[in-house]
Amino acid sequence: MDTSVENGMVTRSDLPLRVINSTPEAISKAKKRAKRSFRQIRTENVFKKTLMLMGLIMVILVLGILLTLIVQSLPSVKALGPKYLWSKVWDPVQDIYGAWPFLLGTLLSSFLALFISIPFSIAIAIFLGEYHPKGWLPNFLKNTVELIAAVPSVIYGFWGLAVLVPIVRSFESAIGVDPIGVGIFSSSLILAVMIIPYAASLGRSMINMVPSHLKEAAYGLGATRWEVIRSVVLPYTKSGLFAGILLSLGRALGETMAVTMVIGNTSLIPKNIFAPGNTMASVIANEFTEADKPVYLSALIELGLVLFLVTVVINLIGKKIIDRFTNE
């Protein structure tokens, strides 16, 4: 920054003022310019502080939620201890609280959903990222996939009950398990549909980022499209694809409404993937209003705390991988 002012006066040494001659007009012009500059700097500072405040409010909000969960679950932590996590019975009437059936139900339905969704999301990511990045069909597909994420989850629950559950029921009777319809398997199917857009759109942008000079190197050696995808695109994007899958897992773990509607809501440990069960999120949604005892309520909140922590950890790992990937 140039601070020298020749033949004239220095109004503020930290401003880029340069007064060449010292006529009164020139000096008053320089003063005006200085005033405007000060105003600009002030506006800039106010703007910066506003942005920071907004960001800070969000951080405080999240920390506040975490704090609330911790404080409110303290009675249950004190009363039940750590064995709460692996106790197998949940019977509020008898004051027995064990989170294991719901932990198991959550993990089972989420991982099963992940397993079902992976082939779809990776295929969509490759199709949109590498085969057809432009044109009306890929645009249509891309928007449709993104719309999947925008549909309210209660709609999925409703659709699951009306359409999916009867289909699952006949499938179950065909393979000879109890034809209940609602259960872990149905909720995994619904979840799989709901989480496809997350992994698909992140995967697509990661695949888009593969440098074209690497792909050309492979094409130049006589590789086919599939060979380029297998040997260049996928190895280059594998951590990004993995991160997308992790983020969609985070989404699956926390999904409440659609799961509650089709999972069957029993507090028993599911015998197999077709049996009804319950997830942490849906127990909270179902039983929060009827929790009449302080320990009952606190046990539900502790369930929320566990869910919160699991999702946070999974999201952090996913973000970490994406950061490493994009910084390479």
């Binding site: 050309e216 130049g220 060979e227 380029v228």
Partner: protein, 252 residues
Amino acid sequence: MESTIIKSRNFNASFGSNHVVRNVNIDIPRNHVIAVMGPSGCGKTTYLRCINRMHELIPGATCSGEMKLNDENIYEMHPIFVRLKIGMVFQRPNPFPNLSIYDNVIAGYKLNGIKLPKAERDRIVEHSLTRVALWNEVKDSLNKKGSFLSGGQQQRLCIARAVAMEPEVLLFDEPTSALDPISTSTVEELFHELKVNYTLIIVTHNMQQAARVSDKTAFFFMGELVEYDETKTMFTNPKDNRTQNYITGRFS
């Protein structure tokens, strides 16, 4: 007697409605180094990428006319075979970052699913790296990643990768423009040795390089092949005014 390896007649190439290569007729003799020079945007790189059908990978790119390799029409062959017979080295060194030096050299075989016995692979790797004068520098670190090498070494690794497939023609798209002068002269020395077995077509906008390394030079201007002659003749006694202007630096 010179035999022609690449022959194009009335060859045109465009991106959408942008006509970048116009009516090119050229005969490229076997085991020679051909320099293709011209100002930026004159279509020289596009023409080069048409020879091994890399041009058509870009959406909207089209071409027409005759392009023959050993009297066989390149555009009637399968693009994969074309690219196996006509190797390419790019402007920016682009070794596969996730592969070791060894795997980079035989990447062409791996990509095409050709399984070779270990001894044969070792022979190809050593032979190819020796041909590009890189063997002595990397023979103790073959399992390190290719991206650890210097820019010049990376580019020679890319040449080794192309040579490993034993193509008939090697295309170079401004192969030294991302390299320092010393690496550039190492790569240039390679051209003389490689032309014993291959035909080399080198796109460059460095006239001195064209004069140093090539037997024949083609000058492109505004998508047209203006002049194509022995390099010596071209630089001492150009026939066309535009060539004269270009090599004397009146436009660039």
